[in-house]
Amino acid sequence: MNEPIISVDNIHKSYLMGKDAVPALRGVSLDIQQGDFVCLMGPSGSGKTTLLNIIGGLDEPSRGHIVIGGENLVALSEDELARLRLHQMGFIFQNYNLLANFTAFENVEAPMVLARVGRKERKERSTALLEKVGLGDRGHHYPSELSGGQQQRVAIARALANDPPILIGDEMTGDLDSETGFAIMRLIQELNEDGMTIVFVTHDPRMATFAGKVVNLRDGKLLNELPADEISQMEMVAHDS
């Protein structure tokens, strides 16, 4: 078996609520291989978003280790984490989080600017990425001039800007209607088929059906890992429709 691209080892995470420490994760371990398409699921408060944030280097565990691409995130400084996020990961958020003053093109270009990519290459790649997400003709539009689905496509293009091996998605389709949500997931699926590792959180079982593996969490613990073919037939039908 290959070395996992993401290795989560006995992660604990607690939050302080007033004077009390509330555990969010209680010893979660998980290995994700290159090219996996993993969905984190669970009810509210199960710790799925916390785990995703820790995997994405946006949050740090209280205890335990997480290794991504051979680097132990716990040992990295904030600036090193930032560099890792810039080059190794792409993020897609529920509410898109696009830069309001930037056009779609510029939003896609922004991470490349941070990564010191040359102007010509930036232009070529931004154009290609927007084409890829089906917004080749919308590059000069501002986020406020785009629909929710279009904004999320821009967010996907932005997430791919520095060609990261891992894509992290947090309720990517939460603000979208079903049809648009499925379209977005199909796009993500295509990326996975191209070899990209995808880890995403959703509360919508229909969207989980796109994943190759579903990781269920309950009360901060890993409940089970199910292969995609064990997702209910009903949800598959909904997906196909």
Partner: protein
């Protein structure tokens, strides 16, 4: 409930609340301090002004035509005391010029003989004891230094008894007078304030009785000085006080009769100064409005942000049944509480500033000017109330719109904010607008046009009320600053691009983000730009004028004086009707002035004689001020400044000897339409006194002679013309009487040069010592004057920097507030940037570049606007005064403005961003 909610809000938004309180505190404090300063100085004005002329209200002397030039104390003093109930004290004095001799030096000084019980003025003892034992004297410090004498040394004092002047005849200079000489020891070396006027620099104080006895003037005095009820001046109305003193002096005149001269200098100077305070107070009021305007914008921005943030909560309150007026009241109460705290602290700050900064500074300045006075600060209700009312009025206006917005909160905000916001197409369009705002430009132009009309048509002076005139004039200036600011706002956009271009060279990545954020946030940009721009216009305007003045100091001094040394008979300015008493003989040039070490060449100019002038056939006529020239002006004038329209400098040499020649101005030549070599007719003293002269030179500019110019309308009745001394004598003398002697005193001005290698300061001292007091001749040395003018400019520059500092203090708060709100409202964007890999320093750097681009471009626009206004004013001024002008760029205040803006931006950004960039990306995104 409302107050409880408001107080909780303060707790939630500490930084914003502190910012609002601080800005109010600082602006209120500054305005209270400035108003208190004006009030303090106004109240101290009587003391200050009287210090410069002597702190008594009236003086009575005998007329110089009286048979007995001395006042009979026993008869006059009681009459004076009883003349008006407001007169509370009368003291006899004998004040006169005396010749002092000691250590081989002789000079003229003022002797002040006064009673020991006299309370007028303040005497500070430098050394020795202030007593008049052993016939001793108290010598002025400057006089002691000049003679090199110390305590215990003796000085010879020579007093010349005055001789009555024959009525209708001038006093003949040089006539022998009875002189008494005495030798007196120096008991004290002193400085005086208000015993006599500041113009008395050399003098001594002696005991009145002792001097009476020495001069044999028992029972008599040179003058009686009177003091009126001091409460008269405490009412605060200087003009009224002056008029009351005049009434008192009228009563004295009615009592004592026509044999006396009455002087009420203090009332006169007080009367003149009253208007200056009106202007000063109007300036403070105008500045106060500007400062509060900036604070108003700041508070409006912050409160509006608060309202936008609280929208959801307010919508929930609406769902729960809250009335609209409750939401309105919540905002208004919040602002009112902030106002109460800020203004209260501001008043305290104002008092502290006045007490511990402004008053000591004024006292220091006064002491530098020779006035040793103690000023009591006056922070009264009358000073505080206008600032408080203005502050609350501005607060009310600033809070009105946010409060109205709050009251209009829809319940939908709690359910679906996106729908409630109801973004329109024009809102989206605004994101794309990158063109300059033409609306502001047009408003600015309208303002400028209004100001031009008001000032150009001189409407203000028709109002007749000095206070109203001053206020309207300054409001017009304020309007002009605002108008000019709005007009120049249009260039902030290109300047932003320029600044970003420059920052892009150093940091392309940070500039990439800043360029987009700056260029596409119109409302925020306009607000911050206006805050900075308005604050930059006035200091830049004043600084440009100062820079131009500084660059032109040498030119101005040369054009004013005409030659390296200038001597003018003092009475020409002070008492023109008596000037003839002090005119100098032509022989003075060689036999007297020429002997002073360091003086090389000399040229004399006669007093002006106004003659009629016309062309050869009287078609065009006017009048001209004739001056006879004794000497070759080419030898003394600053040659590089001379411009002849026709003829050349040789005319200045020829004019001495060519009896029927004349040099006239270009304006007059144009008026008379007379060319070089043409003939003009002069109408001199007496009937049928006409002579023809040939024009040998037409002058456009002659240094030292303002009335040689090119403007025809001015020249018609007011230009100067040169003729020879003989011609001058002829034209100014009735043909029916004999011509004056060639050496008769007719000169009232002398121009000279400094010998090569001579020390100009020594020459200046020598001339002042030789002629300053003894002959009542005003002396100036160009190089010394130049140095003084340069020193004065440095002081002005310091004042401007202080003004800029004050002006920008409120602007800095504005910048700070806008940046703070901007960063706060963009926290999600910052979170996202962190999530995708931005580091802390990159985010801070990006925000700093944004702030700098916005503020520096606005400051540059303000500087350009101020400089343009400064250059325009200076150009117009120089054109009308027909002077050349060297354009100059201020290198102190304007860079200071830019540096302050950059520092404010960096500090404001770092402070505002420091917390948000420290948060983890996920923490920010969860907010």
């Amino acid at each position: 409930m409302i107050l409880n909610y408001v107080l909780k809000n303060f707790k939630r938004r500490k930084v914003r609340t502190i910012l609002m309180v601080l800005s109010l505190m600082v602006s209120t404090g500054l305005i209270v301090a400035m108003s208190a300063t004006v009030e303090t100085v106004r109240r101290s004005n009587v003391d200050l002004l009287s210090s410069s002329i002597g702190r008594y209200d009236l003086s009575v002397t005998k007329k110089d035509t009286s048979a007995d030039p001395f006042v009979d104390i026993n008869r006059t003093a009681p009459a004076l005391t009883g003349a008006d109930p407001l007169i509370v004290d009368v003291f006899p004095r004998l004040v006169s010029d005396v010749d002092l001799s000691a250590n081989g030096e002789t000079a003229t000084a003022t002797m002040i003989a006064r009673k020991p019980e006299e309370t007028v003025g303040q005497i500070d003892v430098v050394s020795g004891t202030l007593s008049f034992e052993n016939n001793g004297m108290a010598l002025f410090e400057s006089t002691a230094e000049a003679f090199g004498v110390d305590i215990g040394d003796e000085i010879d004092v020579a007093y010349s008894f005055p001789r009555p002047r024959v009525e209708g005849e001038a006093t003949v200079v040089g006539i022998s007078q009875r002189q008494v000489v005495g030798r007196f020891p120096v008991n004290a070396i002193i400085r005086q304030t208000g015993v006599v006027g500041l113009q008395v620099s050399d003098g001594l104080i002696m005991d009145f009785d002792q001097v009476q006895s020495w001069l044999g003037l028992t029972g008599r005095a040179g003058s009686l000085i009177g003091l009126v009820e001091p409460e008269l001046y405490e009412a605060g109305n200087a003009e009224q006080a002056a008029l009351t003193v005049r009434e008192v002096v009228v009563n004295v005149q009615n009592t004592l009769g026509e044999d006396f001269n009455y002087s009420l200098d203090k009332a006169a100077i007080l009367d003149q100064s009253s208007e200056a305070f009106l202007v000063l107070q109007a300036l403070i009021n105008t500045y106060g409005l500007m400062a509060f305007g900036v604070v108003g914008l700041l508070i409006h921005t912050l409160v509006m942000t608060n309202v936008q943030e609280q929208r959801r909560e307010m919508a929930v309150l609406r769902i729960l049944g809250s009335q609209r007026n409750l939401l309105f009241a919540m905002v208004m109460v919040e602002v009112a509480v902030i106002g109460l705290i800020g203004v209260a602290f501001g008043i305290v700050l104002g008092q502290i500033l006045t007490q511990y900064a402004v008053i000591p500074f004024i006292e220091y300045q006064m002491s530098q000017a020779g006035l040793n006075v103690t000023i009591q600060p006056a922070v009264s209700l009358a000073v505080i109330l206008p600032a408080v009312i203005s502050a609350f009025a501005v607060l009310f206006v600033s809070a009105l719109k946010p409060a109205q917005d709050a009251s209009k909160t829809k319940v939908m905000y709690a359910i679906n904010p996106g729908v409630a916001d109801n973004i329109q197409l024009e809102d989206l369009e605004e994101l794309r607008v990158q063109r300059p705002n033409l609306r502001f430009f047009v408003i600015g132009l309208v303002m400028m046009f209004t100001v031009t009309l008001v000032l150009g048509l001189d409407i203000v002076s028709t109002l007749g009320n000095p206070s109203l005139e001053a206020t309207i004039f300054l409001l017009a200036i304020l309007l002009m600053v605002l108008g000019l600011g709005l007009v120049f706002l249009i260039i902030t956009r290109p300047l932003e691009r320029l600044v970003l271009l420059i920052t892009g060279l150093f940091s392309p990545r940070l500039t990439y983000f800043a360029r987009r954020n700056v260029g596409r946030s119109n409302k925020r940009n306009a607000l911050i730009s206006l805050l900075v721009l308005f604050s930059g216009v006035l200091p830049s305007f004043l600084a440009t004028q100062n820079a131009i003045d500084t660059a032109n100091i040498e030119t101005d001094v040369k054009l004013d004086m005409g030659a390296p040394i200038e001597l003018i008979v003092f009475t020409r300015f002070s008492e023109p009707e008596l000037a003839s008493l002090d005119w100098l003989q032509p022989s003075f040039l060689q036999s007297d002035l020429g002997q002073v070490e360091g003086v090389e060449r000399t040229v004399g100019l006669t007093h002006e004689y106004t003659a009629g002038i016309s062309d050869a056939v009287d078609m065009r006529s006017g009048s001209v001020d004739l001056q006879g020239v004794v000497g070759d002006l080419n030898e003394v004038l600053f040659g590089e400044m001379i411009i002849f329209t026709a003829g050349d400098e040789s005319a200045l040499t020829r004019i001495q000897t060519e009896d029927q020649a004349i040099i006239i101005s270009e304006g007059l030549a144009n008026h008379l339409a007379v060319p070089l070599g043409g003939t003009i007719k002069l109408r001199g003293e007496g009937l049928d006194h006409l002579e023809e002269f040939t024009v040998i030179g037409i002058v456009r500019r002659l240094p030292g002679f303002d009335n040689f110019g090119r403007i025809r309308s001015q020249a018609q009745n007011g230009s100067t013309a040169f003729v020879s001394l003989d011609a001058f004598h002829r034209m100014s003398t009735n043909p029916k009487v004999a011509l004056p002697d060639a050496n008769d005193p007719v000169l009232d001005r002398v121009l000279a040069t400094v010998s090569p290698g001579a020390d100009v300061n020594d020459v200046d001292s020598a001339l002042r010592g030789e002629y300053g007091f003894r002959n009542r001749i005003f002396t100036r040395v160009a190089e010394v004057r130049l140095q003084q003018a340069q020193d004065e400019r440095l002081q002005t520059q310091l004042f401007l920097i202080v003004l800029t500092l004050i002006s920008f203090t409120t602007a800095v708060f504005g910048v700070f507030a806008v940046i703070y709100v901007t960063i706060y409202s963009r926290r999600l964007e910052i979170g996202m940037m962190k999530a995708v890999g931005s580091r802390k320093w990159e985010l801070t750097g990006m925000l700093i570049v944004e702030s700098i681009a916005m503020t520096v471009s606005a400051a540059l626009a303000g500087v350009v606007a101020g400089a343009v206004m400064g250059y325009t004013f200076a150009y117009i001024n120089n054109v009308t005064s027909q002077r050349p002008m060297i354009f100059a760029v201020d290198t102190t205040v304007m860079p200071f403005v830019l540096i302050m803006v950059v520092i404010a931006s960096i500090i404001g950004t770092v402070f505002s961003a420091r917390r948000i960039v420290k948060y983890k990306a996920i923490e920010i995104l969860r907010m």
